[in-house]
Every structure is written in C-alpha cells, then in structure tokens.
Amino acid sequence: MSVFMPEVASTQAAQTDGIYFALLALSAIIILLVTALILVFSIRYRRGSKAERGAMPRVMSREFEVGWTSATLFLALFIFWWVSSTQLSALVAPKDALQIHVVAKQWMWKTQHANGAREINELHVPIDTPVRLVMTSEDAIHSFFVPAFRMKKDVLPGRYTETWFQPTKLGVFHLFCAEYCGSEHSRMVGRIVVLQKDAYSRWLAAQPQGDGLAKEGEAVFRARGCSGCHAEASKVHAPNLNGLYGRPVQLADGRTVTADESYLRDSMLMPRRDIAAGYEPIMPTYAGILTEGEIISLTAYIRSLSGKEGSRK
C-alpha cells in the first residue's frame, strides 16, 4: 500500500484504478479551470478596479450557455459509456471459476471450499485463478469488501448474492465488513491469503475437510428426506436432479429460469414460487428446517450430479 493508493491485487483493481485516474485528471482540469476563472475575475473585476467593463457581447449569454450545456452533457454521457462498457464484460464469473461459499453472521465470516474445508475470518485462494463467491447471511446485511481487489458485495439474509475476483498478487489482504451490522461491525474483519497454485493445493490438502461438501450434501439429502421423492428410484413424480444445475428450467407459468444457486435455494425454501412445468406443487417448504450450511451442501451435491464440480478434486 502506498500513501495514496491501495495495493493492486486483482484484475478488477487495475481496471478500477484506470477509471479512477482518468476521472481524477478530468476533475483536476475542471477544478483548475473554475478556480482560475474565479481568481482572475475576482482580481480583475474587484470593486473599483480600473478594468474595462463595457457592454457584454450578446453571443455571450445564449451561445455560451448552449455550448457548455451540450459539452457537459456530451462529456457525462461519454464517461458513462466508457465506464459501463468496461463493466459489462465483467458481470459474470468465468465458467471455470473456483467456487467458495461465504456465510456471514454477527460478527464473523465463515468461508467454505468445494472440498468441505472451512475457515473462519480467513480465505485462502490461489493466484491467477478466478474465484466465485456465493454468499448469504444468517442475520443482518453484511458486505464482503476487499480493498486490494476493489471488490465489494452486500451479503443478505434469505438469498444468495454473488461476485467474483481474480487475484494477481501474492500476499495477505484486508477483508472488511462494509455494511453496518451492529456493535462489533468494525471488528468483523478478516484476511484474504493469496497463495501460489501449488501452495494452495498443499494448503487445501492439509485442512480437515470431512467428506467434502457434495458428500455432506448427499448425507443431508437422505437424512432430510429429499431422497424420498427426488431419488432416481422414487415413485413420486418429482423433478430429476441429475444434470439439473446450470440448465434452463421451464416453469409452469411460462417463464424460463436458470437452475443456479439462488434458484435451488428458493426451491428448497419457497417451493411454490417457481414450479417446474409438468409437476404438481406438492413439495413442502424446508424453511426453518434446513440450516444455511445444509442448504450449501445440498446445493453442492446437486451441482456434483451435473459433473460441474464435484467433491472429487
């Protein structure tokens, strides 16, 4: 970290800084222009000075006004276009991104890797690899903020929010909670540790990891009775979960949605909201029955059925 700029540790950070410097330069020009005009006028036309006043040329009022109005509008729209076009390309995480689950609660961060390894107030990630965060909160709204990555996303109760980053620098970086969340808001901080890829593999292998998220999910799948309807052998007419993840789903009301984490989560907690076409709405809600952790592992299990990302590393 320099005195004026935070560390540049992700692909996004470099882009954001580029926009920041451009706007700084533009602002400096405008401030210098306005200040210079105010100073020059204040001195030249101070009360009682000898400066020539004379009549104001008529073009001054109309043409000048129209001129700087359109120039300002054009400038504003140009900046908007330039900034937004860089942003649109970065909306969606790359397909091969490493997936991390984040659960926030007053006042700590719980992170979980695909193989089931858990961390508290820490997250280890490999360098030069896109990392996708799927986040939810157990209480108030929090916000996952890593200044060195120029990345921030609110973490909400009752739904998933997503964001992604690609670290470009080894080291340890601040993780802050940026959305005010009560007494110890300012102590809800952590560390992001960026490792070399092989160091990350070694680190991951050394963690107590249980069975892996998908394996855990499979156990939940049986224990909570999901398998009664959704298992292949079941006689109940329920949607087949094999290969479901990431596919478009036709709904009974004619809409089509993508079966992503949010859809799977809503289907468990609010099964009557988005009913898959061709199925009776007979599934009971699991709100209040499944914990956030169980929902995450169930989602990981369903994802593994599509072969997208399994418990096998």
Binding site: R53, I79, F80, V83, Q87, L88, P147, F176, A178, Y180
Partner: protein, 554 residues
C-alpha cells in the same frame, strides 16, 4: 393604502418592526407571523446543529487512535447515529427552507405572509415534537442503526430505541410536507401584481422546487418508517426474509426519499448563493432562465437516481447501469449552475464582504463535491468506495461544504434585514476563511482514506489509516472553532451592532425595499413589480456607472 410601483422606492413603513410587535412568550409561541416562525425554526435548528456537532466531536476524538480507546463500540455507534439523524432531519432538511425560506419568501414576492400562517406555526410544533421524540430515544439509551435504519438490522437485531427515533423522524416529516404545501401555495397565489414567474428571484425558484420535492418524496419516507415501526413493534413480517419479505425493499423505499432529500438540502443553498453572488458582483445573474430550468431539472431527475446508492446491494446489474446513466445526467444541470455563477463574476464590481466569501467557499466546495459524484456514479469505482470514507467525504462536501456554507452566506447576507443590526465584518470574514480551511482539512483526507479502503462507521481500524484520521480529527476541531465564532459576533451585534438601515448591501429585491427589521405587515403599501430581478445595472451595460451613482446615493 395605495399600490406603489417598484423600480422606484417603497415608502418606509411607520409601524413597529415584527420584533417589537409583542414581547410576551405567547406572542412568540402562538405567532402566525412568518418572520417570527422563521426565528423559532432558527433557534430550534441551531440547538440541534450544536447537539449533532457535539456527538461527532466525540466520534472524531475517539478516531484519533485506531484502537478506539475513548468510547465503547456501542457508544460509538450510538453517537454517529445520533449525529446523522439529528443533522439530516433536524438541521439540514429544515435549515434554509424553514428559516430563510419562511422569512424571505413572502417578502421577496411582495406578500404579507405565507398562504397558510397557522399551518406554518403547526409545522414548527411538529418538528419540535419530532425532535423531542428523537431526543428521548437518545436520553433513554440511544439508537445504533445509523441514520439509514437499514432492515433487517433495525427491525430484528438492534436492541436500542429504534421506534422512538423513527417516530420522531416520522413526525418531523409532516413538518416538511406542511411547509412544502404552504410554500407552493404561497408562490402560486400570493405574488404581488407584476411579479411574474420569470421575474422571481432565483431564491424563490429554489424554494419552490424544494417544496415540490418535499411534498412528493417525504410521504414515501413516512410510510417506510411506519413499516419499520410495525415490523419491529408488532412483528408483522414486512422486510423479514424468513417470511418471504425483502430487506432490499426497505433500501429502495428509503433512498427513493433520501436521494431527493439531498436536493431538498442543496437546492435552497443554490438559491441563496444566486442572491449573494449577484449582489456582491453587482451583476445580473448570468443565464437566469437556464438557472431556473436547471433547478427544476435537478428536482425532477433527482427522483430517478436513487438506485445509485445500491450498486453493491444485490439489485440487478442492469438496473444499476440505468441508475448510473441517470446519475451522470443529473450532474449536468449542477455543472451548468457552477459555470453560470462563475460567469456572473465576469465584468462585475466584486466586493468581498463576509456573505460573498461564504458564497465563493460554497462554489469551490460544491464543485469538488459534485465532481466526486461522477466517481460514485461510475459503477466500478462505486463498488470499491461505497460505504467507505470516500462517500462520507463526498456527501459532506455537498451538504456541509455546500449547504452549510450557503446557510452561513445567507445568515450574514440577511442578518441586517432580520435583526436590523450590522455585525463586525472582519470577524465574519475571518470565520468564513477559517470555516473553508477547517472544512477541507477535515474532509479532504477522508477521500484518500476512503479510496485506500477504510470503511465508514468503523470504531476500530487498521493502523495504516491512522494518519488520515488524525488529520481529519484535527481539522474537525478547527472547523468546530469556526462554527463557534458566528454565534459570538452575531450575538454581540444584537446589542452593540450599528443600525443597518433598510438596504445596507445596496441590493435589489423586494425584501430590501422595506425597513429592517420589517414590520408585521412587511410593506407599508402593497408593492407593484415592473421589472425583473437583479437590476444591478441597465440591461446590456456594464455595472460600472450604475454602481457608482447608486453607491453615492446610499
């Protein structure tokens, strides 16, 4: 009484001034005189301004060290919440409209009072009741939600007096609505003969545009706070996601009010600055009609940009892009106003008395605040700096650097009219300059700390941010000293100040054509307006000769 055309002079009223119209307590507390009500508001908001100031002084003192040695976490959270709630709803929102707006709107349009004088008094009682309700919350143990009352924290997790604080703001909201309705009716119905819309001083246009926003936006705040109270008190699930509620709904409703509320705070400031700059540059305002369209444009587009507070909240990325676009568009009319004020100085006869120094301070600080708004309208930068000190610095540049500077410009400009006394100008100029430097000293370091990543509302923080916090805290005490000066010399002037006369600045505008302080009825005879505002020099000519001859006469 006969009508008197303005262009020439009005007869000097013989009646006693509004201050001498009665000396009992009830002559103040039951008054329907817009000028006395303006003073009641002035006393009220000054009280709240210093309360809010004390709260933030403790916060800034605590932030000298990264470990938060002075206060506990909870006390810290309650103090910044108190600062925000009090400053926004009990100082900033009523500041210029309820004091100068109340005092000057009827005077500037040649009326003897506002349209609904009793409703006007009722508005003041509402803000007083609301204020005490919120103060009760403080005394009973405080509120720790931040001024934004975000759910579900405010409804489900905070253990503090959220209901009393929200109720106080709810009640104060009706004060805003009533004042807005009153001012809109006054502007439409009570303009003196000949006072056409495009002869209105820009301050009147500013107050009019502000009133529209107050009337249209504040009801949304009211219902939002009712929903918060209902969910917290009766446990009706509204925002609670466990029952299918949406916590983001709160943010949409809240910012639908609170972004336009920024314009409730800054439009009146633009009005004040337009009056002061023209007077002290001895020039017609540059581009009068563009200034009017710009203010109306800001008031309208200001309703469509609330989503730029929510770029990282989880709202749709495409919605964010639309809000980003509209936020860039709303910057344009503000920029035009800055250019026009600057151009008004061209070929003027510029004097640098205290009101002008405050107004020039506004111009500089508002420009910086506005330009950093472009940073925040850019999604990638906003993602990084939202909820950091960068945002804190940005909105303080607009609201404190902008609006509070303009408030002091107005206070010094109209003080002789309101009190009939002149204050010692050297002291006032010193306070203006001290305020400008104290302000920058306090808030400029926060831009840097924010871009480095220091989150707002942090009681303890990593030590690498300490240097910026020390600068900022030191600046805050310079700023506090600058705020303590005006009450001293202005108070002094009430007793020992020389009499002002009706028009000490040699200004145009109907308010300067009656005595200082004005009588209860404002004018000795109803004025008849025959010319546009800001006749500081004949149209198309330089102010030079005109200024000299007028100056000699005064």
């Amino acid at each position: 009484m006969t009508d008197v055309a303005v262009g020439g002079e009005l007869p000097i009223p013989r009646d006693p001034s509004y201050l001498g119209a009665g000396y009992t307590v009830s002559s103040w507390l039951a008054t329907t005189d817009h000028k006395r009500i303006a003073l009641l508001y002035a006393v009220t908001i000054t009280f709240f301004f210093f309360l809010g100031g004390i709260a933030i002084s403790l916060v800034r003192l605590d932030l000298f060290t990264p470990t938060g040695d002075l206060l506990s976490d909870d006390t810290y959270n309650k103090l910044f919440t108190f600062h925000g709630v009090v400053m926004v709803w009990f100082f900033m929102v009523p500041s210029i409209p309820a004091t100068f707006g109340n005092f000057l709107l009827p005077l500037m349009i040649g009326a003897r009072d506002v349209a609904f004088p009793r409703l006007n008094l009722f508005s003041w009682y509402l803000i007083l009741i609301g204020g005490f309700c919120t103060l009760y919350a403080l005394i009973a143990g405080g509120v720790d939600t931040g001024w934004t009352f975000y759910t579900p924290f405010s409804t489900m997790f905070s253990n503090t007096h959220v209901i009393a604080a929200a109720l106080g703001v709810f009640i104060a909201g009706f004060s805003s609505i009533a004042t807005g309705v009153n001012f809109i009716a006054t502007t439409h119905m009570l303009r003196a003969p000949g006072m056409t819309w495009f002869r209105l001083p820009l301050f009147v246009w500013a107050i009019y545009a502000t009133s529209l926003v107050m009337v249209l936006a504040t009801p949304v705040l009211a219902i939002t706070l009712v929903l918060v109270i209902v969910e917290r008190w009766l446990h009706l699930p509204i925002f609670n996601p466990e029952f299918g509620g949406d916590p983001l709904l709160f943010q949409h409703l809240f910012w639908f009010y609170s972004h336009p509320a920024v314009y409730i705070m800054v439009l009146p400031a633009m009005g004040v600055v337009s009056e002061v700059i023209t007077c002290f540059a001895r020039r017609r305002v540059f581009g009068y009609d563009f200034m009017v369209y710009a203010m109306v444009g800001i008031a309208v587009i200001g309703f469509l940009v609330w989503g730029h507070h929510m770029f990282v909240s989880g709202q749709s990325a495409y919605a964010s892009i639309v809000f980003s676009f509209l936020s860039f568009v709303v910057a344009v009319p503000s920029a035009i106003k800055v250019f026009n004020w600057t151009a008004t100085l061209y070929r003027g006869q510029i004097g640098f008395e205290a009101p002008m120094l405050y107004a020039l301070g506004f111009l500089g600080l508002f420009t910086i605040g506005g330009l950093t708004g472009l940073f925040l309208a850019s999604i990638p930068i906003d993602v990084h700096v939202t909820d950091t000190y960068f945002v804190v610095a940005h909105f303080h540049y607009i609201m404190v650097g902008g609006t509070v500077s303009a408030y002091f410009a107005g206070l010094h400009y109209w003080w002789p009219k309101i009190t009939g006394r002149l204050y010692p100008d050297p002291w006032a100029r010193f306070a203006a300059i001290l305020m400008f430097f104290g302000f920058n000293f306090t808030f400029f370091p926060q831009f840097i700390a924010g871009y480095l990543g220091m989150p707002r509302r942090y009681h303890v923080y990593p030590p690498e941010f300490q240097v910026y916090n020390v600068l900022s805290s030191a600046g805050a005490f310079v700023l506090a000293a600058a705020y303590l000066l005006p009450p001293l010399y202005l108070g002094w002037s009430l007793i020992w100040g020389t009499r002002a006369g009706r028009n000490p600045w040699n200004a145009t505008g109907l308010e300067w054509k009656t005595s200082s302080p004005p009588p209860r009825e404002n004018f000795a005879a109803p004025p008849h307006v025959e010319e546009g505002p800001y006749q500081y020099h004949p149209e198309g000519f330089a102010p030079e000769r005109h200024y000299r001859s007028q100056g000699d006469a005064a």
